[in-house]
C-alpha cells in the first residue's frame, strides 16, 4: 500500500516535471524541471528492487543536469525568465501527434495480454547484474566502453574551435 502511494506520487511528479520543462519561461528552470522528472523515475526504480540502477540514474542525472544547466545558460535567449517565452513551431500538430501516440500506447498497455512473470528477482539483483556484465554479457560492456570513447573523441573534434594543426595563415608558428 505504502509502495503504491509512493509510486503514484512519484509518477505524477515525474510527469508534472516533464510538462513543466516545456511550460516554464526560463531554460534554466526547464533544466531543473527535467532533473526533478529524472529523480522521480530514479526513485521509482528503487521501489522495484533496482537499487543500483536507481541510484545510478539519480547520481548521473544530477551531474548531467548541472552540466546541462551551463549549456542552457550559454544558449538561452531568456536568461532569467522575466518575459514569457514561447519558442515553438507547429504547436497544434505536435500536440495532436503526441496525444495520438499516448492514446495508442495506453491502448497497447491495457489490451496486450502480458505474459506471466518468469522467475523471481535474485536476493541481490545488483550482484546479478555485476556477474552478468563481467561474464556472459561482457560484450555489451565492451561496446558501451568503446561508444563512450568514440563519443569523447568526436564531441571534442566537433566542438573545438580549431584542431591542433589548424593555423591562422601560413606561418608555422602562426596562432
Amino acid at each position: 500500500m505504502a509502495e503504491a502511494v509512493a509510486f503514484w506520487a512519484l509518477a505524477v511528479a515525474a510527469v508534472a516535471g516533464g510538462v513543466a520543462v516545456f511550460v516554464v519561461d526560463s531554460m534554466a528552470r526547464a533544466t531543473f524541471a527535467l532533473l526533478a522528472s529524472f529523480l522521480c523515475v530514479g526513485l521509482a526504480l528503487l521501489l522495484i528492487d533496482l537499487a543500483y540502477l536507481g541510484v545510478l540514474v539519480v547520481l548521473m542525472m544530477v551531474m548531467e543536469m548541472m552540466i546541462m544547466a551551463v549549456f542552457m545558460i550559454m544558449y538561452m535567449m531568456n536568461p532569467a525568465g522575466f518575459m514569457p517565452m514561447t519558442m515553438v513551431h507547429n504547436h497544434r500538430g505536435a500536440l495532436a501527434i503526441s496525444g495520438a501516440v499516448f492514446a495508442l500506447l495506453v491502448a497497447g498497455i491495457f489490451l496486450t495480454p502480458w505474459p506471466a512473470r518468469r522467475g523471481v528477482p535474485a536476493a541481490d539483483p545488483t550482484r546479478d547484474l555485476g556477474m552478468s556484465i563481467m561474464g556472459p554479457k561482457m560484450l555489451v560492456m565492451m561496446v558501451v566502453g568503446l561508444a563512450i570513447l568514440a563519443t569523447i573523441v568526436s564531441a571534442v573534434v566537433l566542438a573545438a574551435d580549431r584542431g591542433r594543426y589548424d593555423r591562422y595563415g601560413d606561418r608555422p608558428r602562426g596562432r
Binding site: 509502495e3 509510486f7 503514484w8 509518477a11 515525474a14 510527469v15 516533464g18 520543462v21 516545456f22 531554460m27 526547464a30 527535467l34 522528472s37 529524472f38 523515475v41 521509482a44 526504480l45 522495484i48 533496482l50 540502477l53 545510478l56 540514474v57 548521473m60 546541462m68 549549456f71 544558449y75 538561452m76 535567449m77 519558442m87 515553438v88 513551431h89 507547429n90 504547436h91 505536435a94 500536440l95 501527434i97 503526441s98 499516448f102 500506447l105 495506453v106 502480458w114 505474459p115 518468469r118 522467475g119 528477482p121 535474485a122 539483483p125 547484474l129 556477474m131 552478468s132 556484465i133 554479457k137 555489451v140 558501451v144 561508444a147 563512450i148 563519443t151 568526436s154 564531441a155 566542438a159
Partner: protein, 101 residues
C-alpha cells in the same frame, strides 16, 4: 501498482517528450524532449524486467545501455549545437534545415 502502472508512467513521459521534440524551436530544448523520451524508456525497461523476467539480469543490462545512450546523446547533441553555432550562429531548428528532404 503493477506492470501497467509503470508502463502508463513511461507512456506519459514518452508522449510529453515527443511533444517537446516536435514543437521546440531551440535545439537544446529539443534535446530535453529527447531526454524525456529516454526517461520513459527507462521506466518501461525497469518494469519489464521486474514484472515479466526478473529471473535473469538481461533486462538490467539493457537498462545500463539505455542510461549510457542517454548520456552520449546529450554529449553529442551539445557538440553538434556548439559546432553549428560557431559556424553559422544558428541555435534554432528552423535555421538548421540543411538535411530537409
Amino acid at each position: 501498482m503493477g506492470l501497467e502502472a509503470y508502463l502508463l508512467l513511461a507512456a506519459a513521459l514518452f508522449a510529453v517528450g515527443l511533444y517537446g521534440a516536435l514543437s521546440q524551436q531551440s535545439v537544446v530544448m529539443l534535446m530535453m524532449g529527447l531526454e524525456l523520451m529516454i526517461n520513459g524508456l527507462l521506466a518501461a525497461g525497469a518494469a519489464f524486467w521486474y514484472f515479466l523476467a526478473p529471473g535473469t539480469a538481461d533486462g538490467q543490462v539493457l537498462l545500463l545501455v539505455v542510461i549510457t545512450v542517454m548520456a552520449l546523446e546529450m554529449a553529442m547533441g551539445f557538440a553538434v549545437v556548439t559546432a553549428i553555432f560557431r559556424a553559422r550562429d544558428v541555435d534554432t531548428t528552423d535555421d538548421a534545415g540543411d538535411l530537409k528532404g
